[in-house]
Symmetry: C2
């Protein structure tokens, strides 16, 4: 993104693409994914809806672009989903570590997590994390009670994020990827396919 | 606290006790528990150190008072500790729910959790949660690698706090106490006494 070519002839011109992203982020934060239309984003950015689709594709694409993640979860989650529920705990944990332990992908996620404490940010986390990540995984794995199970998974992963990446408590902050995977995969697997009370 | 008798004769007088608490909270947030002396708190509040001890007791007591919890964790944790490591996951989970599901005790804890995202607040969470709660439990239960194990426990409980009490996602936010205990106790127990990688 930082290497995007400048339009040299219009030094003071607003960057249309950036304006759309700003509008999208504000509206998604205020009204959630369901309460935000591409048309409303276009209006807020002062452009035509067709231009939004031209730049960003579908509303899902626009939402993901507004989150400014460096990874498309729909792609990244494929290997987790494709193997079915057996071993999904370990594969999900492996993906989690591969995304969170690399600064380039961690920083935008951390920004999202920090938003958890203000209402707009909460909407983004709910829609971003639950709609774009947990929902698709739960249904692709054909879990019984997918929402409930994926929330248990989320409750473990979010706590790990807070301790390892936000508070950076030791020794957890320095634990190796393999140690994390071995520690947490059984928990995730139990939440995915174990008995529920 | 709201029912504390007013000292009617001194309407404009500063509340010494409150001033000490404010100073303590600021210093603990800025310098952590270890980096804050009772003397420094007394100086910041403009009183003698003996008065701080008179009002609040030990430095531990002062710290807990500054956190403004409604429960003394040293007392609340006794039933968790006394039974030894067998079943401690369930007893800890039961205590957790009993504290977090009651508004009076939940609100001050939520305030502490919200502090996780600013550096001063992080120091309070680290000292408050780890020094006052997790540390004592880990050593009283005579765990091997107590720090590591208690951090795993914390990583689950903090995530549960975020999802159930901060984001309030359903169905987790409405799950019954017994359901939560049955779901999470095995996880905590594995972290307390199961094999570590």
């Amino acid at each position: 993104m930082s290497a995007a070519p400048r339009r040299g002839r219009r030094p003071g011109a607003p960057d249309t693409r950036a304006a759309i992203l700003v509008a999208a982020r504000e509206l998604f934060a205020a009204h959630g994914f369901a309460g935000t239309s591409v048309r409303a984003v276009a209006t807020a950015a002062g452009v035509d809806a067709a231009l939004v689709h031209h730049y960003f594709g579908t509303k899902d694409d626009l939402f993901l672009a507004a989150l400014e993640l460096r990874v498309d979860p729909r792609v990244a989650l494929l290997p987790v989903i494709e193997g079915g529920v057996d071993g999904a705990g370990e594969r999900l944990m492996r993906l989690f570590v591969s995304v969170w332990d690399v600064e380039e992908t961690r920083l935008p996620l951390l920004a999202l997590v920090r938003g958890v404490l203000d209402p707009g940010g909460q909407q983004l986390v709910r829609d971003g994390f639950f709609r774009m990540v947990l929902g698709p995984v739960g249904s692709a794995l054909e879990l019984d009670q997918p929402e409930r199970r994926m929330q248990l998974v989320a409750s473990q992963l979010i706590g790990l994020v807070v301790l390892r990446y936000v508070l950076a408590v030791e020794p957890l902050a320095s634990a190796s990827s393999e140690e994390l995977i071995a520690t947490y995969a059984p928990t995730l697997q139990r939440y995915l396919s174990g008995p529920l009370p």
